[in-house]
Protein backbone atom coordinates (compact mmCIF):
# COMPACT_ATOMS: atom_id res chain seq x y z
CA UNK A 1 0.00 0.00 0.00
CA UNK A 2 1.75 3.11 -1.19
CA UNK A 3 1.34 6.67 0.07
CA UNK A 4 1.88 9.71 -2.06
CA UNK A 5 2.48 13.39 -1.59
CA UNK A 6 0.12 15.54 -3.65
CA UNK A 7 -0.34 19.24 -4.17
CA UNK A 8 -3.46 20.64 -5.73
CA UNK A 9 -5.76 23.63 -5.72
CA UNK A 10 -9.21 23.17 -4.22
CA UNK A 11 -11.64 26.04 -4.63
CA UNK A 12 -8.69 28.40 -5.04
CA UNK A 13 -6.93 27.10 -1.92
CA UNK A 14 -3.48 25.50 -2.22
CA UNK A 15 -3.51 22.14 -0.49
CA UNK A 16 -0.63 19.72 0.12
CA UNK A 17 -1.30 16.33 1.64
CA UNK A 18 -0.15 12.75 1.83
CA UNK A 19 -2.71 10.27 0.59
CA UNK A 20 -3.07 6.52 0.45
CA UNK A 21 -3.11 5.30 -3.13
CA UNK A 22 -6.60 3.85 -2.78
CA UNK A 23 -8.25 7.05 -1.49
CA UNK A 24 -10.75 8.43 -3.98
CA UNK A 25 -10.73 12.11 -4.83
CA UNK A 26 -14.23 12.33 -3.37
CA UNK A 27 -13.18 10.90 0.00
CA UNK A 28 -10.11 13.12 0.02
CA UNK A 29 -12.15 16.26 -0.62
CA UNK A 30 -14.61 15.41 2.13
CA UNK A 31 -12.31 14.06 4.80
CA UNK A 32 -9.07 15.98 4.28
CA UNK A 33 -10.27 19.22 2.71
CA UNK A 34 -13.54 19.77 4.57
CA UNK A 35 -15.50 19.79 1.32
CA UNK A 36 -18.53 17.96 2.66
CA UNK A 37 -20.49 19.63 -0.11
CA UNK A 38 -19.11 16.82 -2.24
CA UNK A 39 -21.85 14.25 -1.70
CA UNK A 40 -20.84 10.63 -2.04
CA UNK A 41 -23.88 8.56 -2.90
CA UNK A 42 -23.17 5.31 -4.68
CA UNK A 43 -19.37 5.55 -4.73
CA UNK A 44 -19.20 3.60 -7.97
CA UNK A 45 -20.00 6.09 -10.65
CA UNK A 46 -23.74 5.75 -11.06
CA UNK A 47 -25.45 8.54 -9.12
CA UNK A 48 -23.45 11.65 -10.05
CA UNK A 49 -23.82 13.32 -6.65
CA UNK A 50 -20.03 13.59 -6.20
CA UNK A 51 -19.43 15.44 -9.46
CA UNK A 52 -16.75 18.13 -9.22
CA UNK A 53 -14.90 20.18 -11.81
CA UNK A 54 -11.30 19.09 -12.43
CA UNK A 55 -9.31 21.39 -14.71
CA UNK A 56 -12.51 22.75 -16.23
CA UNK A 57 -14.30 19.45 -16.73
CA UNK A 58 -17.13 17.88 -14.77
CA UNK A 59 -16.04 14.46 -13.52
CA UNK A 60 -17.17 11.98 -10.92
CA UNK A 61 -14.88 12.36 -7.90
CA UNK A 62 -15.54 8.77 -6.81
CA UNK A 63 -14.04 7.54 -10.10
CA UNK A 64 -10.73 9.30 -9.71
CA UNK A 65 -7.99 8.67 -7.17
CA UNK A 66 -6.79 11.52 -4.98
CA UNK A 67 -3.23 10.72 -6.08
CA UNK A 68 -4.28 11.37 -9.68
CA UNK A 69 -5.31 14.89 -8.68
CA UNK A 70 -1.70 15.95 -8.06
CA UNK A 71 -1.24 19.28 -9.81
CA UNK A 72 -4.86 19.85 -10.82
CA UNK A 73 -7.41 22.52 -10.02
CA UNK A 74 -10.58 21.24 -8.39
CA UNK A 75 -13.75 23.23 -7.95
CA UNK A 76 -16.49 21.98 -5.63
CA UNK A 77 -19.88 23.48 -4.89
CA UNK A 78 -18.24 25.24 -1.95
CA UNK A 79 -16.01 27.20 -4.30
CA UNK A 80 -18.73 28.74 -6.45
CA UNK A 81 -20.14 31.54 -4.35
CA UNK A 82 -18.32 34.89 -4.16
CA UNK A 83 -16.39 35.70 -0.96
CA UNK A 84 -19.29 37.88 0.19
CA UNK A 85 -21.62 34.91 -0.15
CA UNK A 86 -23.26 36.00 -3.39
CA UNK A 87 -24.41 32.88 -5.20
CA UNK A 88 -22.97 31.91 -8.58
CA UNK A 89 -25.32 32.23 -11.58
CA UNK A 90 -26.05 28.49 -11.50
CA UNK A 91 -26.65 28.48 -7.76
CA UNK A 92 -28.92 31.52 -7.98
CA UNK A 93 -30.88 30.00 -10.83
CA UNK A 94 -31.24 26.70 -8.94
CA UNK A 95 -32.70 28.71 -6.05
CA UNK A 96 -34.99 30.81 -8.23
CA UNK A 97 -36.31 27.86 -10.21
CA UNK A 98 -36.95 25.61 -7.20
CA UNK A 99 -34.60 23.09 -8.77
CA UNK A 100 -33.90 21.13 -5.60
CA UNK A 101 -35.75 19.46 -2.81
CA UNK A 102 -33.77 17.21 -0.45
CA UNK A 103 -30.50 18.57 -1.82
CA UNK A 104 -28.49 15.37 -1.92
CA UNK A 105 -27.94 15.32 -5.68
CA UNK A 106 -27.77 19.11 -5.89
CA UNK A 107 -24.01 19.78 -5.57
CA UNK A 108 -23.27 17.37 -8.40
CA UNK A 109 -25.97 18.85 -10.60
CA UNK A 110 -24.70 22.34 -9.89
CA UNK A 111 -21.18 21.35 -10.94
CA UNK A 112 -22.36 19.76 -14.18
CA UNK A 113 -24.47 22.80 -15.06
CA UNK A 114 -21.56 25.08 -14.13
CA UNK A 115 -19.18 23.24 -16.44
CA UNK A 116 -21.78 23.00 -19.17
CA UNK A 117 -22.55 26.72 -19.19
CA UNK A 118 -19.05 28.02 -18.46
CA UNK A 119 -17.80 30.96 -20.48
CA UNK A 120 -19.70 31.44 -23.70
CA UNK A 121 -21.03 27.88 -23.84
CA UNK A 122 -24.71 27.75 -24.70
CA UNK A 123 -25.72 24.09 -24.55
CA UNK A 124 -28.77 22.93 -26.44
CA UNK A 125 -31.75 21.39 -24.69
CA UNK A 126 -30.65 17.97 -25.93
CA UNK A 127 -27.12 18.47 -24.58
CA UNK A 128 -28.47 19.54 -21.20
CA UNK A 129 -30.80 16.57 -21.01
CA UNK A 130 -27.98 14.21 -21.94
CA UNK A 131 -25.69 15.74 -19.31
CA UNK A 132 -28.37 15.62 -16.61
CA UNK A 133 -28.92 11.94 -17.36
CA UNK A 134 -25.63 11.48 -15.51
CA UNK A 135 -27.35 12.52 -12.26
CA UNK A 136 -29.91 10.65 -10.23
CA UNK A 137 -32.50 12.90 -8.58
CA UNK A 138 -35.14 10.90 -6.78
CA UNK A 139 -37.31 13.63 -5.29
CA UNK A 140 -38.17 16.83 -7.07
CA UNK A 141 -37.17 15.75 -10.55
CA UNK A 142 -35.42 17.35 -13.45
CA UNK A 143 -37.82 20.01 -14.71
CA UNK A 144 -36.42 22.71 -12.46
CA UNK A 145 -32.87 21.83 -13.50
CA UNK A 146 -33.89 22.13 -17.13
CA UNK A 147 -35.36 25.56 -16.43
CA UNK A 148 -32.03 26.54 -14.86
CA UNK A 149 -30.17 25.45 -17.97
CA UNK A 150 -32.61 27.27 -20.27
CA UNK A 151 -32.27 30.44 -18.24
CA UNK A 152 -28.47 30.26 -18.32
CA UNK A 153 -28.47 29.51 -22.04
CA UNK A 154 -30.68 32.49 -22.68
CA UNK A 155 -33.52 30.31 -23.96
CA UNK A 156 -37.06 30.85 -22.75
CA UNK A 157 -35.95 33.55 -20.34
Amino acid sequence: MSEHRIELTVDGEQIAATVEARTSLGDFLREECGRTGVHLGCEHGVCGACTVIVDGRAVRSCLMLAVQADGVQVTTAQGLAAPDGALSPVQQAMHDEYALQCGFCTPGVVMTLTALTAGEARPTEAEVRAALSGHLCRCTGYQGMLRVARRLSGANG
Binding site: M1, S2, H4, E20, A21, R22, S24, D27, C42, E43, H44, G45, G48, T51, R57, A58, V59, R60, C62, L63, M64, L65, V67, Q68, T112, L116, A130, A131, S133, G134
Partner: protein
Amino acid sequence: MKAAPFDYVAPDSVEAAVDCLAENVGDAMVLAGGQTLMPLLALRMSQPTVLVDINRIEALQGVTRGDGATRIGAVTRQADALTDRTIADHAPGIPKALRFVGHYQTRNRGTVGGSIALGEPAAELPCTALTLGAKIEARSVRGTRLIDAEDFYLGPYTNALESDELVTAVLFPDLPHGTITLAHEVARRPGDFALVGLICALTIHGGTFHAARIGWFGMGQTPLRSLETERSLVGERVSGIDLADVARMAVSETDPADDHHATAAYRRTVGERVFRRAVSQALESA
Protein backbone atom coordinates in the same frame (compact mmCIF):
# COMPACT_ATOMS: atom_id res chain seq x y z
CA MET B 1 -17.43 0.88 -1.22
CA LYS B 2 -13.75 1.47 -0.51
CA ALA B 3 -11.00 -0.08 -2.59
CA ALA B 4 -8.66 -2.58 -0.97
CA PRO B 5 -5.09 -1.33 -0.53
CA PHE B 6 -2.76 -1.35 -3.51
CA ASP B 7 0.49 0.21 -4.64
CA TYR B 8 0.32 2.94 -7.25
CA VAL B 9 2.80 4.00 -9.88
CA ALA B 10 2.37 6.67 -12.56
CA PRO B 11 5.16 6.23 -15.09
CA ASP B 12 5.75 9.09 -17.52
CA SER B 13 6.85 6.95 -20.46
CA VAL B 14 5.53 3.91 -22.29
CA GLU B 15 8.86 2.15 -21.67
CA ALA B 16 8.57 2.60 -17.92
CA ALA B 17 4.94 1.45 -17.98
CA VAL B 18 5.65 -1.80 -19.83
CA ASP B 19 8.68 -2.45 -17.61
CA CYS B 20 6.40 -2.14 -14.63
CA LEU B 21 3.82 -4.49 -16.17
CA ALA B 22 6.55 -7.02 -16.95
CA GLU B 23 7.83 -6.90 -13.36
CA ASN B 24 4.37 -7.43 -11.91
CA VAL B 25 2.76 -9.94 -14.26
CA GLY B 26 -0.57 -11.07 -12.90
CA ASP B 27 -0.52 -8.58 -10.04
CA ALA B 28 -0.65 -5.28 -11.89
CA MET B 29 -3.61 -3.63 -13.56
CA VAL B 30 -3.52 -0.67 -15.93
CA LEU B 31 -5.49 2.41 -14.90
CA ALA B 32 -6.60 4.45 -17.91
CA GLY B 33 -9.73 6.59 -17.51
CA GLY B 34 -10.88 4.48 -14.58
CA GLN B 35 -14.57 4.77 -15.38
CA THR B 36 -14.94 0.98 -15.21
CA LEU B 37 -11.90 0.02 -13.15
CA MET B 38 -12.64 2.42 -10.28
CA PRO B 39 -16.09 0.89 -9.63
CA LEU B 40 -14.55 -2.60 -9.81
CA LEU B 41 -11.96 -1.53 -7.22
CA ALA B 42 -14.59 0.11 -5.01
CA LEU B 43 -16.74 -3.02 -5.13
CA ARG B 44 -13.59 -5.12 -4.55
CA MET B 45 -14.34 -7.16 -7.64
CA SER B 46 -10.79 -6.33 -8.69
CA GLN B 47 -7.96 -6.35 -6.16
CA PRO B 48 -4.70 -5.66 -7.96
CA THR B 49 -1.45 -5.43 -6.02
CA VAL B 50 -0.14 -2.65 -8.24
CA LEU B 51 -2.03 -0.08 -10.23
CA VAL B 52 -0.13 1.33 -13.21
CA ASP B 53 -1.62 4.73 -14.04
CA ILE B 54 -0.92 5.60 -17.69
CA ASN B 55 -2.62 9.00 -17.62
CA ARG B 56 0.66 10.90 -17.25
CA ILE B 57 2.18 9.45 -20.43
CA GLU B 58 1.98 12.17 -23.06
CA ALA B 59 2.84 9.79 -25.90
CA LEU B 60 -0.47 8.00 -25.32
CA GLN B 61 -2.57 11.12 -25.83
CA GLY B 62 -4.03 12.64 -28.93
CA VAL B 63 -4.96 11.87 -32.51
CA THR B 64 -2.58 11.64 -35.46
CA ARG B 65 -2.74 10.62 -39.12
CA GLY B 66 -0.45 8.29 -41.05
CA ASP B 67 -0.41 5.37 -43.49
CA GLY B 68 -4.05 5.83 -44.44
CA ALA B 69 -5.26 5.53 -40.88
CA THR B 70 -6.34 7.67 -37.97
CA ARG B 71 -4.35 6.80 -34.88
CA ILE B 72 -6.02 7.48 -31.54
CA GLY B 73 -3.69 7.40 -28.54
CA ALA B 74 -4.90 5.04 -25.85
CA VAL B 75 -5.62 7.64 -23.17
CA THR B 76 -7.32 10.10 -25.50
CA ARG B 77 -10.45 11.09 -23.57
CA GLN B 78 -13.74 10.04 -25.08
CA ALA B 79 -14.95 13.65 -24.78
CA ASP B 80 -11.97 14.85 -26.82
CA ALA B 81 -12.41 12.14 -29.46
CA LEU B 82 -16.08 13.10 -29.74
CA THR B 83 -15.20 16.62 -30.88
CA ASP B 84 -11.91 15.91 -32.67
CA ARG B 85 -11.80 17.35 -36.21
CA THR B 86 -9.40 14.74 -37.56
CA ILE B 87 -11.59 11.90 -36.35
CA ALA B 88 -14.73 13.59 -37.66
CA ASP B 89 -13.13 14.05 -41.09
CA HIS B 90 -11.55 10.62 -41.51
CA ALA B 91 -13.50 8.26 -39.24
CA PRO B 92 -16.94 9.80 -38.76
CA GLY B 93 -18.36 6.53 -37.45
CA ILE B 94 -16.43 7.01 -34.21
CA PRO B 95 -18.18 10.17 -32.95
CA LYS B 96 -21.53 8.66 -33.96
CA ALA B 97 -20.82 5.79 -31.59
CA LEU B 98 -19.21 7.96 -28.91
CA ARG B 99 -22.44 9.89 -28.41
CA PHE B 100 -23.82 6.78 -26.74
CA VAL B 101 -20.81 6.06 -24.52
CA GLY B 102 -21.49 6.55 -20.81
CA HIS B 103 -22.38 10.04 -19.69
CA TYR B 104 -21.06 13.56 -20.26
CA GLN B 105 -19.25 13.30 -16.92
CA THR B 106 -17.70 9.86 -17.54
CA ARG B 107 -16.62 10.73 -21.12
CA ASN B 108 -14.56 13.55 -19.60
CA ARG B 109 -12.27 10.93 -18.06
CA GLY B 110 -13.04 7.71 -19.89
CA THR B 111 -10.56 6.86 -22.64
CA VAL B 112 -10.86 5.37 -26.10
CA GLY B 113 -8.13 2.80 -25.47
CA GLY B 114 -9.47 1.81 -22.08
CA SER B 115 -12.92 1.01 -23.40
CA ILE B 116 -11.57 -0.86 -26.41
CA ALA B 117 -9.16 -2.87 -24.25
CA LEU B 118 -11.83 -3.74 -21.70
CA GLY B 119 -14.13 -5.35 -24.27
CA GLU B 120 -17.49 -5.06 -22.55
CA PRO B 121 -19.76 -6.95 -24.98
CA ALA B 122 -22.51 -4.32 -24.78
CA ALA B 123 -20.18 -1.32 -25.15
CA GLU B 124 -20.00 0.90 -28.20
CA LEU B 125 -16.27 1.35 -28.80
CA PRO B 126 -15.18 -2.31 -29.02
CA CYS B 127 -17.86 -2.81 -31.69
CA THR B 128 -16.74 0.36 -33.43
CA ALA B 129 -13.19 -1.00 -33.58
CA LEU B 130 -14.42 -4.35 -34.87
CA THR B 131 -16.81 -2.95 -37.47
CA LEU B 132 -14.47 -0.30 -38.82
CA GLY B 133 -11.59 -2.78 -39.08
CA ALA B 134 -9.35 -1.14 -36.50
CA LYS B 135 -5.99 -2.43 -35.39
CA ILE B 136 -5.04 -2.39 -31.73
CA GLU B 137 -1.43 -1.41 -31.07
CA ALA B 138 -0.01 -3.34 -28.13
CA ARG B 139 3.35 -2.77 -26.52
CA SER B 140 5.38 -4.87 -24.13
CA VAL B 141 9.03 -5.26 -23.22
CA ARG B 142 9.24 -7.57 -26.25
CA GLY B 143 8.19 -4.83 -28.65
CA THR B 144 5.11 -3.52 -30.44
CA ARG B 145 2.53 -5.53 -32.34
CA LEU B 146 -0.72 -4.74 -34.12
CA ILE B 147 -3.74 -6.92 -33.42
CA ASP B 148 -6.72 -6.89 -35.78
CA ALA B 149 -9.88 -6.03 -33.85
CA GLU B 150 -11.48 -9.15 -35.31
CA ASP B 151 -8.84 -11.25 -33.52
CA PHE B 152 -8.90 -9.20 -30.33
CA TYR B 153 -12.14 -10.11 -28.59
CA LEU B 154 -12.19 -13.66 -27.25
CA GLY B 155 -15.10 -13.39 -24.81
CA PRO B 156 -16.67 -10.97 -22.34
CA TYR B 157 -13.85 -8.79 -20.94
CA THR B 158 -11.39 -11.23 -22.47
CA ASN B 159 -8.96 -10.14 -25.14
CA ALA B 160 -5.88 -11.30 -27.00
CA LEU B 161 -3.46 -9.19 -24.95
CA GLU B 162 -0.68 -10.89 -23.03
CA SER B 163 -0.83 -10.03 -19.35
CA ASP B 164 2.16 -7.68 -19.63
CA GLU B 165 0.99 -5.91 -22.78
CA LEU B 166 -0.29 -2.35 -22.86
CA VAL B 167 -2.66 -0.93 -25.47
CA THR B 168 -0.89 2.19 -26.71
CA ALA B 169 -3.18 3.24 -29.58
CA VAL B 170 -6.03 2.17 -31.82
CA LEU B 171 -5.65 2.66 -35.58
CA PHE B 172 -8.76 3.16 -37.69
CA PRO B 173 -8.13 2.68 -41.43
CA ASP B 174 -9.64 5.17 -43.87
CA LEU B 175 -12.83 3.78 -45.33
CA PRO B 176 -13.32 3.76 -49.11
CA HIS B 177 -14.83 6.80 -50.77
CA GLY B 178 -18.61 6.53 -50.80
CA THR B 179 -18.86 4.85 -47.39
CA ILE B 180 -21.62 5.89 -45.04
CA THR B 181 -21.43 5.02 -41.35
CA LEU B 182 -24.14 4.77 -38.75
CA ALA B 183 -24.45 3.93 -35.08
CA HIS B 184 -27.61 3.33 -33.14
CA GLU B 185 -28.57 1.62 -29.91
CA VAL B 186 -31.47 0.94 -27.62
CA ALA B 187 -30.83 1.19 -23.87
CA ARG B 188 -33.20 1.47 -20.96
CA ARG B 189 -31.78 4.86 -20.03
CA PRO B 190 -29.22 7.14 -21.67
CA GLY B 191 -25.76 6.08 -20.54
CA ASP B 192 -26.73 2.50 -19.75
CA PHE B 193 -25.13 -0.31 -21.65
CA ALA B 194 -27.04 -1.12 -24.80
CA LEU B 195 -29.65 -3.85 -24.90
CA VAL B 196 -29.08 -3.81 -28.65
CA GLY B 197 -26.52 -1.78 -30.56
CA LEU B 198 -25.66 -1.53 -34.24
CA ILE B 199 -22.76 0.00 -36.12
CA CYS B 200 -22.55 -0.16 -39.93
CA ALA B 201 -20.25 1.03 -42.66
CA LEU B 202 -21.85 0.74 -46.10
CA THR B 203 -19.87 1.53 -49.24
CA ILE B 204 -22.12 2.53 -52.12
CA HIS B 205 -21.08 3.46 -55.68
CA GLY B 206 -23.66 4.39 -58.28
CA GLY B 207 -26.52 2.95 -56.27
CA THR B 208 -24.83 -0.42 -55.71
CA PHE B 209 -23.32 -1.84 -52.52
CA HIS B 210 -19.58 -2.32 -53.01
CA ALA B 211 -18.92 -3.33 -49.42
CA ALA B 212 -20.85 -3.65 -46.19
CA ARG B 213 -19.84 -3.98 -42.58
CA ILE B 214 -22.53 -4.75 -40.04
CA GLY B 215 -21.49 -4.85 -36.37
CA TRP B 216 -23.54 -5.56 -33.25
CA PHE B 217 -23.01 -5.01 -29.55
CA GLY B 218 -25.12 -6.39 -26.72
CA MET B 219 -25.97 -9.24 -29.09
CA GLY B 220 -23.44 -11.86 -28.04
CA GLN B 221 -20.45 -12.71 -25.87
CA THR B 222 -18.32 -10.24 -27.81
CA PRO B 223 -19.06 -7.55 -30.36
CA LEU B 224 -19.75 -9.41 -33.59
CA ARG B 225 -20.39 -8.93 -37.29
CA SER B 226 -23.04 -10.34 -39.62
CA LEU B 227 -20.50 -11.57 -42.16
CA GLU B 228 -22.83 -13.55 -44.43
CA THR B 229 -25.26 -10.67 -44.63
CA GLU B 230 -22.39 -8.35 -45.45
CA ARG B 231 -21.31 -10.60 -48.33
CA SER B 232 -24.87 -10.98 -49.60
CA LEU B 233 -25.24 -7.23 -49.97
CA VAL B 234 -22.19 -6.76 -52.17
CA GLY B 235 -23.28 -6.13 -55.76
CA GLU B 236 -26.92 -5.56 -54.83
CA ARG B 237 -28.72 -2.43 -55.92
CA VAL B 238 -29.59 -0.26 -52.91
CA SER B 239 -33.06 0.28 -54.36
CA GLY B 240 -33.56 -3.45 -54.84
CA ILE B 241 -33.07 -4.76 -51.32
CA ASP B 242 -35.84 -5.59 -48.87
CA LEU B 243 -34.56 -4.12 -45.61
CA ALA B 244 -36.82 -6.35 -43.52
CA ASP B 245 -35.24 -9.44 -45.08
CA VAL B 246 -31.73 -8.07 -44.66
CA ALA B 247 -32.47 -7.17 -41.04
CA ARG B 248 -33.80 -10.66 -40.32
CA MET B 249 -30.73 -12.25 -41.87
CA ALA B 250 -28.32 -9.93 -40.07
CA VAL B 251 -29.93 -10.61 -36.70
CA SER B 252 -29.93 -14.37 -37.37
CA GLU B 253 -26.14 -14.19 -37.30
CA THR B 254 -26.09 -12.77 -33.75
CA ASP B 255 -26.19 -14.72 -30.52
CA PRO B 256 -27.98 -12.67 -27.87
CA ALA B 257 -28.56 -14.09 -24.38
CA ASP B 258 -31.37 -13.90 -21.88
CA ASP B 259 -30.44 -11.82 -18.88
CA HIS B 260 -32.21 -9.67 -16.32
CA HIS B 261 -32.17 -6.68 -18.69
CA ALA B 262 -33.92 -8.33 -21.64
CA THR B 263 -34.68 -11.69 -23.22
CA ALA B 264 -32.83 -12.90 -26.27
CA ALA B 265 -36.10 -12.85 -28.22
CA TYR B 266 -36.63 -9.21 -27.30
CA ARG B 267 -33.12 -8.35 -28.39
CA ARG B 268 -33.68 -10.04 -31.76
CA THR B 269 -36.96 -8.22 -32.33
CA VAL B 270 -35.47 -4.88 -31.37
CA GLY B 271 -32.33 -5.65 -33.38
CA GLU B 272 -34.34 -6.06 -36.58
CA ARG B 273 -36.18 -2.80 -35.97
CA VAL B 274 -33.00 -0.92 -35.10
CA PHE B 275 -31.41 -2.22 -38.27
CA ARG B 276 -34.34 -1.28 -40.50
CA ARG B 277 -34.76 2.15 -38.99
CA ALA B 278 -31.08 3.11 -38.76
CA VAL B 279 -30.09 1.77 -42.17
CA SER B 280 -33.07 3.29 -43.98
CA GLN B 281 -32.38 6.67 -42.36
CA ALA B 282 -28.72 6.48 -43.30
CA LEU B 283 -29.51 5.49 -46.89
CA GLU B 284 -32.04 8.29 -47.26
CA SER B 285 -29.64 10.93 -45.98
CA ALA B 286 -26.70 9.62 -48.02
